[in-house]
C-alpha cells in the first residue's frame, strides 16, 4: 500500500472506530432512557442502604459523621455491583452480543463504549446524589466536594473491574451472588483509597495523594480491563 493510501487507511479506521464508540454509547444511553426504571432502582437502592445505617447504629451525630465516608462508599460499591448484572444481559439474550463478537471493530473498543455508557447511567447518578446523603450524616460541608470527586474518579474503576465479573458470569445460574463474590474482593483498593481521601481531608491533610492514586487506578483499569472483558465475553459466549 502506498504511503498516502496507508495514511488515509489509518485515519479512516480511526474515525470509523470513534464512530463505532459513539454509536455504542449513544445506543446504550438511549436504551437506558427507554428503561428509566432500571436507573432509578439502582439509585434508590443506594439511597436506602445509606439511610439504613443510622437506624442500625443510632442517631448520634458524631458517630454518624465519622462513619459517613465509609458508609457512602460501601453503599456505592454495592450499588455499582448490582447494576452490573444488566450490563451485558440484554445483549446476550437477544443476540446483539454475538454481532459485536463477529464485528470487525475490536471488541475491546465496543466493550469500552458499553462500560462508559453503563457508568453514565449507574455511576454518575451516585456521584451526584452522594453529597445530599452526606448532608444527612452531617458531614462537614467542605468535605462534600472531596466526596463527590473521589466517587467521580473511583466509580468508573468499579464499572471497569466489575464488567470483567459481569462478562464471566454471563448466563450462569446464580449469576448475581456469584458476581458479588468475584468482584467485591477486587474492589477493596478502590474502597480504601476512596474513603481514605475523605478521612485525610477530615484530618486536615491534603486529599490529593488519594485522588492521584485513584486516577492511577482508573488509567490502569481503562487501559487493561477492556481486553480482559473482551476475552471473558468470548469465553462466555462460545
Amino acid at each position: 500500500m502506498p504511503a498516502h493510501r496507508a495514511f488515509h487507511y489509518v485515519r479512516d479506521s480511526k474515525t470509523r472506530m470513534l464512530s463505532v464508540l459513539r454509536t455504542v454509547i449513544h445506543r446504550d444511553l438511549l436504551l437506558a432512557l427507554r428503561r428509566r426504571a432500571d436507573v432509578a432502582t439502582v439509585l434508590l437502592f443506594f439511597v436506602i442502604v445509606v439511610s439504613l445505617f443510622p437506624f442500625g447504629i443510632g442517631p448520634e451525630p458524631n458517630l454518624l459523621r465519622a462513619i459517613a465516608p465509609g458508609v457512602i462508599w460501601v453503599a456505592a460499591l454495592l450499588s455499582c455491583m448490582l447494576a452490573l448484572a444488566r450490563l451485558f444481559a440484554a445483549d446476550f439474550a437477544d443476540g446483539t452480543l454475538e454481532q459485536m463478537l463477529v464485528s470487525p471493530t475490536p471488541l475491546g473498543l465496543i466493550v469500552a463504549g458499553k462500560v462508559a455508557a453503563h457508568w453514565l447511567t449507574s455511576g454518575l447518578p451516585l456521584v451526584l446524589i452522594a453529597p445530599v446523603l452526606a448532608i444527612q450524616f452531617d458531614l462537614n460541608q467542605s468535605l462534600l466536594g472531596v466526596l463527590a470527586l473521589s466517587l467521580l474518579i473511583g466509580t468508573p474503576v468499579l464499572s471497569l473491574i466489575g464488567a470483567i465479573g459481569a462478562a464471566l458470569t454471563l448466563g450462569l445460574r446464580g449469576g448475581g451472588v456469584l458476581l458479588a463474590l468475584l468482584v467485591l474482593p477486587l474492589y477493596v483498593p478502590v474502597l480504601i483509597i476512596g474513603a481514605g481521601a475523605l478521612d485525610a481531608a477530615a484530618a486536615g491533610q491534603s486529599a490529593q495523594p488519594h485522588f492521584l492514586l485513584l486516577a492511577a487506578l482508573l488509567v490502569l483499569a481503562a487501559a487493561f480491563t477492556p481486553w480482559a472483558i473482551a476475552a471473558s465475553l468470548r469465553i462466555s459466549s462460545e
Binding site: 473491574i161 470483567i164 464471566l168 458470569t169 450462569l172 445460574r173 446464580g174 449469576g175 456469584l178 463474590l181 468475584l182 467485591l184 474482593p185 477486587l186 477493596v188 483498593p189 480504601i192 483509597i193 481514605g196 478521612d199 485525610a200 487506578l217 487493561f224 480482559a228 476475552a231 471473558s232 469465553i235 462466555s236 462460545e238
Partner: protein, 255 residues
Amino acid sequence: MSQPTLVIGNINWFRYASPQAFYPLAGAMIPWFAWAAALLCVAGLYVGFFVAPTDHQQGESYRIIFIHVAAAWMSMFIYLVMAFWAGVGLVFNTRLSGMMATALAPTGALFTFIALWTGALWGKPTWGAWWVWDARLTSELILLFLYFGFMALQAAIDEPRRADRAGAVLALVGVVNIPIIYYSVKWWNTLHQGASVNLTSAPTMAATMLAGMLLMALAAWMYSIAASLHRVRSIILERERSADWLVKYRHTAEP
C-alpha cells in the same frame, strides 16, 4: 504440524501435557510426595515442639509458627502457581493446565484458612485479640475470598472447558490485583491505627526454630503436590471417563 518437544534426559516432557500420559505418571508420583510429606511433617513437628527452645518473649505460644508460617507461605505461592497454570492453559489451550489450576485451588484455600485460623490462635495470647486489622491478616483474608471466587465460578459452569478458561481470566486478574490489594491495605492500616503491632521486627531466631519451620514448609510443599496430583487425577477421571485410553487403562493397570 509437528508436535512441540522439550527433551531433557531422553524424555520428551511435553508428552506429559496430555492427560493420558500424565495420569499414570501422577499416580506413580503421589506415594513419594505423600510419604515425604508425612516424614517431614513428623520431623518438623518433633523439632518444633520438643527440640526448639521456648521463646523468651512469647513463651510456648510462638510454636504455632511451625504450622502458621508454612501455611501462609503455601497459601500465597499456590495462588501464583494456580494463576501460572491457568495462564498456560489460556495461551496454549492445553487441557491439563486448566485441570491443574482447578486442582490447586482447594489446597490453596485450605492453607489460607489454616494460616488465618492459626494466626487467630496465636493472636489471642500475644496481642490479646483474635483478630487485628493488620495489613497481612487483611490481605490474607482477601486472598481467601479470591480462592473462593475462583472455585465458585468454576463450580457454576457446567462445561469444563469454559470453566477452565473463565477461571483462568479470573485468576490472572486476581494475580495482577494482589500487589495492589496488599499495598492499599498496608497503607490503609498505617493510616488508621498506626504501628501498634509490628510483625516485621521479629527477634532473631534460634537455629532449631528455623530448622523446624523449614521442615514444616517442605512438608507443606510435599503435601500440596501430593494432594493436587491426587485431585488432578480425579478430575481427569471425571472429564475423560468415556475416553478409550481410560477404559483400556483401567482394565490393564488397575484390575
